[in-house]
């Protein structure tokens, strides 16, 4: 663990205690190499996805992460930046993953800046976690932490007699990172023939400020939360404009939900529900915009024997105005059922004093037939060096949520040296 002394910066930021000025600022990070090789090479790709047919590697990269976290008694600054070398595309880019200031008051915590917000109790099933995600990173075999993206936001959490309320304001919209035309990933594109495309992002303005509210409390060992969100779908909707040109946009969305999690039946029980109010398409008649829906999740996790944990989830999504969806559905679009059922299973085995972790996560929709399986082995060679070997396998009908990624199925390896 290396430590760099930055007393000057700390003195400037702190200005509070001289004793702190001589302290060192924790300085951490890692160097990581990651690669993922396609299990099946797609034979035919539309012109917009020709890279998927050309590249055998969905991932091949190295990155360096630096983390600085100066801290005072009632404040702290967190900066996590990365330099990424994409060996497949031959590009280098820098990214600020997180960069925020924390201020702590007796009954209020403020966080300002680029931050990751995680809500809900699902395991890779997100109902009330409406915050931006990088699905390309997930499909490509990067570590799970890269699924979550930062939001440039202000978060205020107040605490009063055991009840807390968090208000999140996001002035700058951040979309999910999804497979798109020109990328390396194969996906179902109902408009593959139209190459001219543009994306309208909700522009920064007060009208378009995203707002999230979470009220939470522990009652008799159960974690209870209520959620509300007013903002936008993070996956784009599409419409064809004259030209023809495909226009992507992010329709307005409200989400209302609740969750509960607690110890029961010798394990941990979870419940979550949410209502997605698709504000621009309440009638369901616009085929390009996602209909409103109800979503439910129940999960159970238990340690079966020492160091072997199993968990399962059942998720159901009920589309509103399904008949309108069927009536207006365009050619090439998946014929989705009114109710989508999903079950998941996770097994985690810890061995050799928890230095070797064997795990598998599997997800399947019994009624739509698409599925995902992700077996993984992670070995901590030393306290600093870890290696991970795993697979991401997708299957099912080619227009379904996970089936469309079948040709991206891969075997991946990640090596990380942390300091």
């Amino acid at each position: 663990m290396k430590r760099a002394a930055w007393p000057l910066l700390l003195a400037v930021l702190g200005g509070e205690a001289e004793s702190e000025a001589v302290e060192t600022i924790p300085f951490h990070g890692f160097v990581q190499g990651a690669s993922a090789y396609r299990l099946v090479q797609p034979e035919r790709c539309p012109h917009t996805q020709r890279l998927a047919c050309e590249e055998e590697f969905v991932l091949g990269e190295g990155r360096v992460r630096l983390e600085l976290e100066p801290r005072g008694e009632r404040w702290s600054l967190t900066a996590k930046g990365e330099l990424i070398w994409d060996a497949v595309a031959g590009e280098v880019e820098g990214e600020l993953r997180e960069g925020y200031l924390d201020l702590q008051f007796p009954a209020l915590d403020l966080r300002v800046g680029r931050q990751i917000v995680t809500w809900g109790v699902g395991d890779l099933i997100f109902i009330n976690d409406v915050y931006p995600k990088d699905w390309v990173a997930f499909i490509s075999g990067l570590p799970l932490e890269y699924l979550k993206k930062g939001s440039d936001a202000m978060s205020a959490t107040g605490h009063w007699r055991g009840t807390s309320a968090q208000l999140v304001l996001i002035p700058r919209f951040e979309a999910d990172t999804l497979p798109e035309a020109g990328g390396r990933l194969r996906f179902h594109d109902p408009m593959a023939g139209i190459e001219a495309r543009r994306t309208d992002e909700p522009s920064p303005s007060l009208d378009l400020l995203e707002t999230g509210l979470r009220v939470f409390r522990n009652v008799a060992g159960w974690d209870l939360s209520l959620y509300a969100y007013r903002g936008f779908f993070r996956a784009p909707a599409a419409e064809v404009e004259p030209g023809p040109q495909l226009r992507f946009f992010f329709p307005p969305l409200n989400v209302y939900g609740a969750s509960a999690q607690g110890a029961a039946l010798g394990g941990v029980l979870s419940f979550e529900a949410g209502y997605y109010d698709s504000r621009a398409d309440r009638s369901g008649r616009n085929p390009g915009v996602e209909n409103s829906s109800f979503r439910f999740l129940t999960g159970y996790q238990r340690e079966i024997v020492a160091d072997l944990t199993a968990s399962g989830q059942y998720h159901v999504q009920v589309m509103q105005n399904h008949d309108e969806f069927l009536r207006t559905r365009g050619p090439g679009m998946a014929r989705r059922p009114a109710v989508r059922h999903v079950v998941t299973l996770r097994l985690t085995r810890l061995l050799w004093h928890q230095t070797l972790r064997l795990g598998v996560f599997a997800l399947a929709s019994p009624n739509e037939g698409d599925w995902y399986a992700g077996p993984e082995a992670r070995y901590q060679v030393t306290d600093a060096l870890s290696t991970t070997l795993g697979m991401n396998v997708f299957g099912g009908p080619r227009r379904s949520e996970f089936g469309q990624f079948e040709a991206n199925s891969n075997v991946f390896a990640v090596v990380r040296y942390a300091f």
């Binding site: 702290s76 915590d109 522990n218 340690e303 020492a306």
Partner: protein, 272 residues
């Protein structure tokens, strides 16, 4: 009515008198249950609260070493009863900044939460505290936060010296053998501090499996504390050394340190 009360009082007095007579005849020979109850309090409940920096060295048979460093705080809601633990991990790097919260209830499963900073995720943990390893060490959760004395039947076997210290040797047999990995346990309890100086666990076949030793005792604010505790798995040769630094009792730790707020944003003084 008055007469009846008197009779009851007399009846109640008789065993007490008998006990007193015994006590005078054979001084300071407590029962095995009393010894274990006192040992439980001395080891896991001293002070109203505790704060310590813990360094665990996990050492394999061939000398390979891994280090876990954490700040542990504990607050008792009642002596011998409900407790709350809050743990901040300093290293290794892959767990740095993780926090861990335990609400421990006597007689039923604990509530446990782990905060994963990379995902900003608070996760509930469903781990069996009797068998699961704490952070990969040779300690189970139960070894860290204490096993309730009522879960075993105790017998005073003999008195014996451990180094300079006089100790009661207690044999404990689990009342529910299926719930644990050991068939019996021998504890050497210091007659002066009531701290366990040595413990031997025997597996289900009756063979010695793990040996705990208190390598260093120190008096902190009037409370005798095991500041170095070693557990060795004699069957695998793996051992874990836990060293406590900066032990402080009765810091008047705020109750809200033991909730989701602290999990997500641990107080500065615990992080350094």
């Amino acid at each position: 009515m008055a007469l009846r009360l008197l009779t009851i009082a007399a009846a109640g007095l008789a065993p007490a008198l008998a006990a007193l007579a015994l006590a005078i005849a054979a001084p300071a020979q407590p029962s095995a249950d009393e010894v274990m109850a006192k040992a439980h309090l001395a080891m896991f409940y001293p002070g109203e609260d505790l704060r310590a920096r813990v360094t665990m060295r996990l050492i394999s048979r061939n000398g390979g070493e891994r280090v876990r460093e954490l700040t542990m705080t504990r607050r008792d809601l009642r002596d011998g009863g409900e407790q709350r633990y809050f743990i901040y991990f300093h290293r290794p790097p892959d767990v740095r900044d993780m926090t861990f919260l335990v609400w421990k209830y006597p007689g039923r499963d604990d509530d446990r939460w782990l905060y994963v900073p990379a995902l900003k995720l608070v996760r509930r943990i469903a781990a069996n505290d009797k068998r699961s390893s704490f952070a990969g060490s040779d300690f189970s959760y139960e070894d860290v936060s204490g096993r309730e004395p009522e879960e075993d039947a105790h017998k005073l076997v003999r008195e014996e010296r451990v180094g300079e210290r006089a100790a009661y040797v207690i044999e404990s047999v689990p009342k529910d053998p299926a719930s644990v990995d050991f068939s019996r346990k021998l504890s050497w309890i210091d007659t002066a501090t009531w701290l366990p100086l040595k413990e031997e666990y025997y597996d289900r076949r009756g063979e010695l499996s793990r040996v705990f030793t208190a390598e260093e005792l120190k008096e902190v604010q009037g409370f005798w504390t095991v500041v170095k505790r070693v557990v060795k798995n004699v069957q695998t040769g793996h051992r874990t050394e836990a060293v406590l630094d900066g032990v402080r009792y009765d810091q008047k730790l705020a109750p809200d340190l033991f909730g989701e707020r602290a999990l997500r944003a641990p107080p500065a003084q615990l992080v350094r």
